[in-house]
């Protein structure tokens, strides 16, 4: 009998500020331990928090980008628990009055088509420090550089039904947040962290099953793997007649297994109450409206515009809109006069290959546009243009036409030259010539390819075919 899986995600993203959430220490990653610390983030007697305006702005931007309602009044609260990475013995977070509620993220689910997942809430909070267990025998080392770093916690509704949904949601969420410029969302550096809640139930059953929380998910692929493993574990339990217990699990990426975290005794009673050190956060509606106006076009809107305005296939539009830089580059190439589909092919091909490797664009958009125009005008062949592109990447000052000329890659349509390459090819392939003449005319493509190869891409393919037909008659 089938089971339905119900998944909700809690995502923490580090907001791209220069200083911490409640003190003016730097948020630099990788500094020597306990150097970016002050009385406030060390939790020294008498120190007090003062919120960072930029963290509030970025949190608001993130909330608006996710379609949330940003509340005119939200309240910082203390979440009380003891842990050596938590200097004050409480985390300043937001509890019953968060910054924003009620958003949604729309994306293409690999199995279920277009899907919308609700965003329950987005709230601001401070990060904890870092614990290192393997450096000193018998000791845990505490580094508080990260303590107090501003985070937005984004809680989804339990709207996902498969581990693949969860992954697709995360990919889209990250795109939106990077687009909005609120976080670099790097899982490697820990600026995006994911906890997943998962339960199973019979399809159509009312209510939710007992959920487990899976932590330690350090890549999107591992989110999917961990949720698959936990889904199987829960189904196994229930089908053996056992019950799913409410538990926190850790995913081991090496073994692909989830296992229960030793329980933090008593940790469920966080005794939240409004932080008396911090009056309410009050945001003027006009300011929130300004933040909404200041948002860039988001990935979904850009994708739709690429389809509509440029006539791109849905796949192309989605790939090109997936990252701000890629989309901007693509639009620059089109703006320089290149036919949109031709530009898309180029950007999704050689350009994206190098962008994915280096994170940069080795050939600026205007030079790529000039190169594509040479192809359109028959000055260089498509094949030759790829070699010219590689050359342009090495020589930032050279114009595409000059490069093609220097490399001898200008397209040749001179009948004499073409006839020479055709003769060479035909004499090298007597068997194919015989077969062609015997009626196997689909070999024309083969001969054209050979001529192009022989000319090292310089032959004008449109001119080659008539010469071949003439000589094969």
């Amino acid at each position: 009998m089938a089971w339905e899986t119900v998944i909700g995600l809690e995502v923490h993203v580090q907001l791209s500020t220069r200083t911490k959430m409640f003190c003016a220490c730097r948020t630099t990653f990788g500094d020597p331990p306990n150097t970016n610390v002050c009385p406030t983030c060390l939790g020294l007697p008498g120190a007090l928090p003062v919120p960072n305006a930029e963290a509030v702005r970025l949190g608001t931007r993130a909330a608006l980008a996710l379609g949330c309602t940003v509340h005119p009044v939200s309240v910082f609260a203390r979440k009380n628990y003891f842990y050596p990475d938590l200097p004050k013995g409480y985390q300043i977070s937001q509890f019953d009055r968060p910054l924003a509620t009620g958003g949604r993220v729309a994306f293409e689910s690999p199995e279920r088509g277009r899907l919308e997942v609700g965003v329950t809430r987005l709230h601001l909070e401070e990060d904890a420090g870092k614990l290192i267990h393997d450096r000193f025998p018998g000791k845990t080392a505490v580094d508080l550089n990260r303590a107090g770093t501003p985070l937005a916690e984004i809680v989804s509704e339990p709207d996902m039904r498969t581990p693949a949904d969860a992954r697709a949601y995360l990919v889209t969420l990250r795109q939106i947040l990077v687009y909005a410029g609120v976080s670099d969302c790097s899982m490697e550096q820990g600026s995006l962290r994911v906890d997943a809640n998962i339960s199973i139930r019979r399809p159509g059953a009312p209510g939710l099953g007992t959920k487990a929380e899976v932590k330690n998910l350090n890549s999107f692929a591992n989110v999917e793997r961990a949720l698959e493993a936990e889904r199987e574990r829960q189904i196994g339990l229930v089908e053996r007649g056992e019950r799913v217990a409410q538990v926190t699990l850790l995913f081991n990426a090496g073994s692909g297994e989830v296992r229960p975290l030793r329980s933090k005794e008593e940790s469920h009673d966080y005794r939240y109450f409004p932080d008396p050190d911090l009056p309410p956060l009050v945001l003027a509606p006009e300011w929130v409206a300004d933040q909404r106006l200041a948002l860039p076009e988001l990935p979904d809107a850009r994708r739709a515009r690429f389809e509509l305005a440029f006539g791109l296939p849905a796949y192309d539009a989605r790939v090109l809109a997936s990252e701000v830089a890629l989309a901007e580059y693509y639009e620059s190439v089109v703006a320089a006069g290149v036919e949109p589909k031709a530009a898309a092919n180029w950007v999704m091909g050689d350009v994206m290959t190098s962008y994915n490797e280096t994170g940069a664009f080795p050939v600026e958009a205007s030079r790529l546009a000039a190169l594509v125009t040479l192809v359109r005008d028959g000055v260089v062949s498509h094949q030759a243009a790829k070699r010219v592109y590689a050359e342009l990447a090495r020589r930032p000052d050279e114009a595409p036409g000059a490069a093609a000329e220097r490399l001898g890659l200008l397209q040749v349509s001179d009948q004499g030259a073409l006839a020479g390459w055709v003769d060479d090819v035909l004499s090298e392939h007597p068997a194919e010539v015989a077969r062609y003449r015997g009626g196997e005319t689909k070999l024309m493509g083969f001969f054209v390819g050979q001529v192009m190869k022989r000319s090292r891409g310089k032959a004008d393919p449109k001119g080659v075919q008539p010469v071949l037909q003439e000589k094969l008659r």
């Binding site: 009385p39 020294l44 932080d275 008396p276 050190d277």
Partner: protein, 462 residues
Amino acid sequence: MSTAALARATGERLAAADAAGLNATLHWSQAQLDAEAARVDAMPAPGPLAGVAIAVKDNIVTTDMPTTCASRILEGYVSPYDATAIRRLRAAGALVAAKANMDEFAMGSSTEHSAFGRVRHPLDPSRVPGGSSGGSAALVAAGVVPAALGSETGGSVRQPASFCGVVGVKPSYGRVSRYGLAAFGSSLDCISAFGRTVADAAGVLSAMSGHDPLDSTTLDQPPMGVPGPLADLRGLRVGLPREYFPADLDPGVAAAMERTSAALRELGAELVEVSLPHSAYAVPTYYIVAPAEAAANLARYDGVRYGPRHIGPGGDIRALYQATRGQGFGPEVQRRILVGTYVLSAGYYDAYYRKAQRVRALIADDFRRVFEGGFDLLLTPTTPTPAFRAGEKTADPVSMYLADVFVCAISLAGLPALSLPAGRSEGLPVGAQLIAPFFADERLLAAAMTLEGIIAPDAEVR
């Protein structure tokens, strides 16, 4: 007198007070005083407090002396930064002379709950000086320093001022930065001042006051001015809240209040009975709100980053937490942490904490209504009795809490108030409390200075 000579004289008085067994200081040294004098002398211009030696309650952090909050859990701790109040006092030319003994973490009303021994009342060593700022009050009362810093959470400056016969002023919440005051009840805590006179206390408060970008709860207002006494108090309407004059009020206190009322009338003020019905619930409200905030505020004392560390059986992190905190905090602090944890815990929050916040709003509303009804000040006794004997209330925590019955409500409402010496009952000082509307600190001080001019504080009232 030169600043150096003043520092030496202050040192001699501190040494004498210590020798007399007052136990009012926790840290001071002549070398430290001399260094302060040299620093003040090197200032390009003398500040408004040039050469004024000030004792500081030991829950206000200083870089040049330890800050222990009179607790074993901070024994030997020296802060790596100065409180904003300390920075401003130093900038005004004051000498930070000594750290004063107190109830541990400011929790108490008698300064018997110090980990380093109780403070003696300067006039009668068998009695308490009040608390929790008892060391500061005793040092001013004994003439060791002209002014001292205390802190108020629920009356911890006004109450010992009353017991010791000095002036104790609590400013409006948010007038003086809390940055560097070890937090007890953050929504209540106010650095406050003791002085021999209202002017002494006012000068100190003025120097410390004003917006601090490091404290989100300070008011975005310029520093408080120091007013002078008025010619009279004609036109001033003073309310006498009937809930603060119970039938069983100590006769000495009642007599001192009669005397104060008469003095106010003599100055031309109009006295009218008013009502603050919710003040009856101030003490229970306070003993929910303050412990709840304290339970969170004192969580940072965990033996991880500073302070002495103890590790119990098991040797793990919880053994460190529980032994450090179990051995480091005294019994009253532990009781309040437990109560505060309890009232915030799952299932009890609404019944206790949320309820107390609502009653707090009603208590504050009573004051607002009376002041908006045309009253400028309120007059009440500061304490129900003069200084009680040491040991009298230590066995029953609630009886100790009731020593603050007349001061608590004002703290909950965040209002400015002061205690002014109003005579003596069988030799023991009795204080009169004046309360002003929010942010009317200067009006309060001016009226108190005027009243101070015609009340003989040492006269027997019975």
